[in-house]
Amino acid sequence: MSAWRQVGLNYINYSNIAAKVLRRSLKPELRAEAMKRDESHVRITPWADGRPAHLKQAAAKIKVCFE
């Protein structure tokens, strides 16, 4: 098993971190454009029984993966 998976990351997190590093190491004129693709505004709320539920726990989980 690879080291990153042992730490608790999945492939999406792993490749996102790699992409982030790559974007940051670009030349400045290319970086500005690439950094725009680094943004995400989607908000995800877990639901249960027809209404939003256990918000904090799950939101925190997703957030941890992206920081």
Binding site: N10, Y11, D38, E39, H41, V42, W47, G50
Partner: protein, 296 residues
Amino acid sequence: MLGRVAPGVCGQAVAVVNHQQNRNMATLKAISIRLKSVKNIQKITQSMKMVSAAKYTRAERELKAARPYGEGAVQFYERAEVAAPEDDKKELYIAMTSDRGLCGAVHTGVSKVIRNRLSEPGAENIKVICVGDKSRGILQRLYGKHIISVANEIGRLPPTFQDAAKLAAAVLTSGYEFASGKIIYNKFKSVVSYAQSDLPLYSQKAVESAPKLAIYDSLDADVIQSYMEFSLASMLFYAMKEGACSEQSSRMTAMDNASKNAGEMIDKLTLTFNRTRQAVITRELIEIISGAAALD
């Protein structure tokens, strides 16, 4: 005015005439107000059309770049002949819509596909993830119990791979162990047409037991797991791009039609306005002339 000069017997009659005149004046006024508001609506729909036309060209360009992501992932499932396991009926449906309306039937189309599926037998094994407030709004009341996640803030900006990655992470951490599933989205065909389509989702178990997996070299559980995670994100990304492109093109047509309809309404209202104005002038002339004739 006349009423004040000659009060009494003829007061009532004058009041009626006055009233009628006022009402005619009022309709004239009402028509002009209506005309103004319809003109404003037309301006708004026209500018919305321009905006979505600009957004559409960008979305189409980006869709072309995103296509290999989705097609590659689907090809893998087809070549390996992955099928949903017979014994595990747990399904996941992902509805790809957005937060914004005024774009024809893009959102209702996607929601309808899911609603039809949920009204069939065996619906208790199905969970739904709503991407975008519109599908949530449609499915919430009747099928709220099936919804396990809702994503919003979609549609304001073009979707990025980060958005898809976040969504994929939410699917993976939702704790729902689906055996198979579908991403329902609008597939963009041309500026004027789109159709509901779906992308398959499978669990890792289903992929590992696929009959023709052997055509792929050096696969172990770890590689498959990584690939499944990545292909989920890339399929979501592709579906989001297709959806965004169809939405913009559909909004463009919807707003074009709205402007056209407003134009028709403006024509009709202008005609009625002019006729009423003419009628008022004619009546006033008749009143003056008959008044003058009565004095002779």
